[in-house]
Amino acid sequence: MKRDTYVPTTALIVVLLMAVLAMTACAAPAAAPAQGEETAAQPTGSAETPVEGGVVTRALTTEPSGLDPHGPPGSGQNVILPYIFDTLIYLDGDNVLHPFLAESWEIAEDGKTITFTLRPDVVFHDGTPMNADAVVFTFERFMELGGKSPVAGGLRNITSVEAVDENTVAFHFEEPSATFFSTIALPYAGIISPAAVEQEGEEFARQPVGTGPFMLDAWEPGVSITLKRNPDYNWGPADVENKGAPYIDAAAFKVIPDASAQLAAFQAGEVDIIFVNQPAHLEKLKQDESVQLQEMVFNSLVYLGFNTSRAPFDDVNVRQAFAHAIDKQAIVDIAVGGVGQPACQFMASTLPGYDPALCADAPAYDPEQAKALLAEAGFTQTDQGQWERDGEILQATILTSTRPPNGDVATMLQAQLAAIGVPIEIQQLDSRAVLKAATEGDYDITLWRYGWNDPDVLNIYLGSDRIGRTNRSFYSNPAVDEIFAQTARELDPDARAQLYVEAQKLLLEDMPWIPLYEPVNVIAISGRVQDAVIGPMGRVLLNDARVKE
């Protein structure tokens, strides 16, 4: 009996629902990203490059706020910058320099002038020529906006940038600068079109114009950024075989903040390239044989850094004792899921200044030795197995970020230090809060990670002139500072590397950090994409890429 009455109601509801959905669907802003629409081959300037078409899509965790190389570095624009902008030189994964927009360069006898000869045939996406004036414009703007850039420090010693002639640029320095080359190879140092900056002003960050293999096609806020191939491209970097225009039509970047959703989108074929940072996701991807899993080089090291200004970690015996108490292999095997290498020195193995011979002197896992060192430091073991000195129990808090696998690593460290009788607490905060507390010296020990493209990273984190800024260990050793000062002026790569080896010998004695492991980062590339090239610092070069449909 009730049936007759609510059938009309239901029908009404369904009609209403459809009406509302239709209305809301009409109100839906904008259309889908134009994927696969650019099928027709464009007439190209470089006839020798076959256009094979297709789109390669990469997942982005964070949408960049802008694509101006000199803009605020906060969010993922460095992933996209290398596709749109080229740099003067190219630093490959083994940290070797190659010509890029500069054909060659010359260092003056005193090291205070470096002169680059530019390729004569390079044009920006807007058709204007890439010449000495553009390079001067780029670097003057870079240094002016430098306060907002993470790498401005690498350009600090520049006194002027001079256009000698159409294709020659000279950089003048106050004193020789060894970090200059790694700095100008960063995506943030990409050469920009002066004409475009002049014309667009503030909007340049939304309409970037460079000389790269791809140029901006469409930007849908919050959804995707699509780049199309630059048909005139003819100056590819050292790591790729195809120096001309890319074979694919477009490279798209899809914003997917959630890691699980990225994995799902990858498995559903919606994106072709994702960054994998969770062991469980890696296991899942390994089951699919068509997926290409590639290791990336970030020159990274995970370490346990002491606050050497705070007792008892101002005592080198305590720091060495901790170093002997830690079983790095177990941490890598269990907490990191085997995806990494135990580290025995401060320099990442991919950076100059790494020397396998140093590992012989590194503290080995030896709990008995650790206890002996604590006794040497004046601690006595209580009946409960804890260590006491002047009525104070030896204990500490490990401060680290919430980012995986830091929690698991800290838990392993807690267990290993408890085994020698040192109780440990773990404090996990978001990255920025950790950095702030550490910079102010408000911590005992921090579990942290660096990734940098120059051995100068040790100076950044451990040079005493950086105390209160990036030297969060408050470590100060004049002998080490003296070596760092020499490295900054040493332009010969071999001599510079040797200086870092010497610095590391001193650091291993002082042990301001305990190097734990070198993380391995994996990128997954779909089976339909062939010949994507893994470049330095996590870049995926698509110059050679082809799409198999």
Binding site: M1, K2, T5, T9, T10, I13, V14, L16, L17, V20, L21, T24, A25, A27, A28, P29, A30, A31, A32, P33, T62, E63, S65, G66, P72, P73, G74, S75, G147, K148, S149, P150, V151, A152, G153, A205, P221, G222, V223, S224, K254, V255, I256, P257, D258, S260, A261, A264, A265, Q267, A268, E270, L429, R432, A433, L435, K436, A437, R469, T470
Partner: protein, 309 residues
């Protein structure tokens, strides 16, 4: 009615001011600020101070708050994003339609599906259909939305390949986020609808209606349904605001470019003007919806009247 309206409006305004103050306070006193986010890990203290001063972040807290509120209230100027430099009003305009679309379709779906489920369950209380449906609603209420979202992705996108995992732009992109967002609300509406129907079914005026010989159909349409819908409508009004909150999670999982995602990213970047703009807008919508519901309620149910509110 007029004094009631005035009182409600003043209350709503006070709520907005409180929300703005607390949000500002939390952002200003939390660790780091937008200058940290801008200059990155390697900047010197001098560089940091310079950037901070250029953004006006070095001024005292109350002065910054008053400046912000004066700009927003007197000049309708929400300021520019500290990170991208783009006007906050424009950022919000880009994102609001997506969130509105998502929450409206979820609200519609939940209202329709929930009411029908409640009706079916209430038709034979205690029957197997009722039991089955009510167990399902318990499940719907207790499953976290992000997990339901991942399950839906797994089933509809990966196993069946029917629907896209992430993004926006076509109606197909809307289906899974809407389902995930509507799930708990659907369950709640169903339970409330059922309870409300059972209440009203036993009410005196229903018995009177039946006694005077009204056809069962007329009794349902004219008396039971209409009266049972009042509490459901009230709750929907309140929950429309909560859907905005749920959308934050759903938008992140599905890469839906709405207001929630904008807010989350802005919080991570300590981008104060963007967070303030988004939070104030959501608070305003919440207040507006609640006020609307209250007015409707007072108008629809004379017993409630102005005084009761």
């Amino acid at each position: 009615m007029i004094p009631f309206l005035i009182r409600r409006l003043v209350g709503a305004l006070l709520a907005l001011v409180t929300v703005s103050f607390i949000t500002f306070l939390l952002l200003a006193t939390g660790p780091g600020d937008a200058a940290d986010a801008l200059v990155g890990e390697f900047a010197s203290q001098e560089q940091l101070d310079e950037v901070r001063a250029s953004m006006g972040l070095d001024a005292p807290f109350f002065q910054r708050y008053l400046d912000y509120m004066a700009g927003a209230a007197l000049h309708q100027d929400m300021g520019d994003s500290l990170i991208s430099g783009r006007p906050v009003a424009r950022l919000i305009r880009e994102r609001l339609p997506y969130t509105a679309l998502l929450t409206l379709s979820a609200l519609t779906l939940a209202a329709m599906l929930g009411s029908i489920t409640g009706l079916i369950a209430a038709a034979r209380p205690g029957g197997w259909l009722d039991l089955g449906l009510m167990s399902l609603t318990t499940l719907g209420l207790s499953v976290p939305t992000f997990w339901a979202a991942l399950l839906l992705i797994h089933f509809f996108s990966l196993k069946l390949g029917w629907l896209p995992v992430t993004g926006a732009g076509s109606p197909a992109h809307l289906v899974l986020p809407t389902l995930s967002l509507a799930l708990p609300l659907t369950a709640m509406v169903a339970r409330l609808m059922r309870a409300s129907l059972l209440d009203v079914k036993e009410a005196d005026y229903v018995r009177t209606a039946r006694a005077k010989g009204l056809k069962p159909g007329k009794v349902w349409q004219g008396h039971i349904l209409r009266n049972a819908l009042i509490p459901v409508l009230t709750m929907l009004g309140v929950y429309a605001g909560r859907l905005l909150a749920g959308a934050v999670v759903i938008e992140t999982v599905f890469g839906w470019p709405g207001l929630g995602r904008l807010t989350v990213q802005a919080v991570l970047d300590n981008d104060l003007p963007v967070v303030m703009g988004a939070v104030l807008l959501i608070a305003f919508l919440y207040q507006a919806i609640n006020l609307g519901v209250d007015i409707l309620h007072a108008w629809a149910d004379p017993r409630v009247g102005g005084s009761a509110l």
